[in-house]
Amino acid sequence: MAREEKVIGVDEAVERFVQDGCVLGVGGMHMHNNAMAVIREIIRQKKRIKRLVTSPSACTNADMLIGAGLVEEIYCSYVGFEHLGLALNFRKFAESGQLRVRECDEAFSVYSLRGGASSLPFHPLPKGLETTSVPKLNQEDYKVTKDPFTGEDVLCVRSVQPDVSIVHCQKADAYGNAIFEGSKFTDFDMIKASDKVILQVEEVVPNEYVLQKSHRIDVPGMLVDAIIDAPFGCHPTASHKYYTYDEDHLKEYLKASKEDFSVYLDKYVYGIKTNEDYLEVIGGREKATQLMERDIPW
């Protein structure tokens, strides 16, 4: 018998693992390591997302799904574009009530996933976090229990276990043993907490490569259900140590989301079939070279 490989096409992965009405996790943080090749395919297949789970700071990974009208509600610690400004699809859908916002914070994002990863029914928070407006705005996901050792009130968050998560790693072998070449953000806890995991990678490496550096492998393959080989698949966001974010493209995105976002979606999502086509439309080899050519301090 032979061992089965997990590398499949992005269309097949989304068909098989992203169900209509699912709780979806999307990895990456700010304009870095967003698994956009998979997210664009979710939009093409018009999968409806019941609830969106993100890192403490979501960016276009959340905003694009929201702008495509596919998201019912979101756990929101932050959705924005850092120094480039606010997330305008998110604003529009949240302000109009088309998107239900479950208000939260960084502590929720981290500890709800950690609770999910450890199969805990809930996760307590350190004292002090009950003093903000957030738990008052979201009494569904923040609740108080007793510390059984002191009898004091303790604020807790609901544990979260996404049905499926979409995460980007720089490298993985064909069995899903994967490496983050830069920051891990909260992606590892998201992987641990999720029922299914689709891993987008810059490159598939041989199993022998993994065996040589086992104590530097961040994700064991048993946690991964599908591997998508998508070089430049994070565009317009960055993939740590591979390429930086495309600031010009992000500005075009923000302009479109201010005006008519369907124009953007038609050009860069619906009108695209393969990752190769996408790379052509965004500017081909010239653009790729430009995003890769940097003074790299490491």
Binding site: V79, T132, S183, K184, T186
Partner: protein
């Protein structure tokens, strides 16, 4: 602004900052290279501890931060934010009020926001940092308000918290601190008048008799800033 922030940091302190933080990153590094060699600073989402910042990036999660002493995974950074190890937290917001509370939730009534903000991210941990420093890229009556619509990060509030609260506020106009838990003008940046500050502040700022001038950077500080930030990422941050 950078100089004021840098001098607000002491040697051996552990300092943390979140998104949109070219300014505090630069200030921390300058402090480290001048009066605070044992300062530790952590760049939020990236988890970079003591990055060399050559050059200073725009994004707090940039891979240019990877030349650092450790890339501490974000969940571990969050654990650290809850521990007594953090001396200084850099904070900001859509709204900042007279008591130093910050708001990133939005502007308006719950359920009927006129402006949906990005969200509170790490600001709730202000309740646990030994002290925090507020920096704002703009100073006007829309962001300096009598009372925030929502509390993302608590300043001097009625409830007791572990933190000793906000210690300093730095804006493009001035430096402020707190007297009896209310914001007070401390020093004016060059070419700024007391009137310019009061006109652009949405509440009655305490104005002491001895408002000074914000110190200018020394030659040494300027040299470090120019070397670290040739692209002007910190300057570009200020509106």
């Amino acid at each position: 602004m950078v100089t004021a922030l840098a001098r607000g940091l002491k040697d051996k302190e552990v300092v943390i900052m979140g998104a949109f933080s070219a300014l505090p990153m630069l200030a921390s590094r300058v402090a480290q290279l001048t009066h605070a060699p044992n300062l530790t600073f952590i760049c939020g989402g990236s988890g970079a501890v003591n990055p060399v910042l050559e050059p200073l990036p725009y994004s707090s999660c940039d891979d240019r931060l990877l030349k650092a002493e450790c890339i501490y995974p974000l969940p571990d950074v969050i654990d650290l934010e809850a521990r007594p190890e953090i001396d200084v937290f850099f904070a900001g917001g859509l709204q900042i009020d007279a008591k130093g509370s910050c708001n990133l939730v939005g502007i308006g009534e719950p359920g009927q926001l006129k402006l949906r903000g990005p969200g509170s991210v790490g600001l709730p941990f202000l309740s646990r940092a030994r002290r925090f420093i507020i920096y704002s890229m703009a100073h006007n009556t829309r962001n300096f308000v009598p009372e925030v619509d929502f509390i993302s990060g608590p300043g001097f509030i009625d409830q007791e918290v572990l933190s000793s609260g906000p210690s300093m506020v730095v804006t493009p106009l001035c430096v402020m601190d707190f007297e009896n838990k209310k914001m007070r003008l401390k020093s004016l940046h060059p070419r700024v008048t007391v009137e310019m500050v009061t006109e652009n502040t949405g509440f009655d700022l305490i104005i002491p008799s001895d408002v000074g001038e914000t110190p200018l950077p020394t030659q040494e500080e300027l040299m470090h800033m120019r070397r670290i930030d040739p692209m002007g990422a910190a300057r570009d941050s200020v509106q």
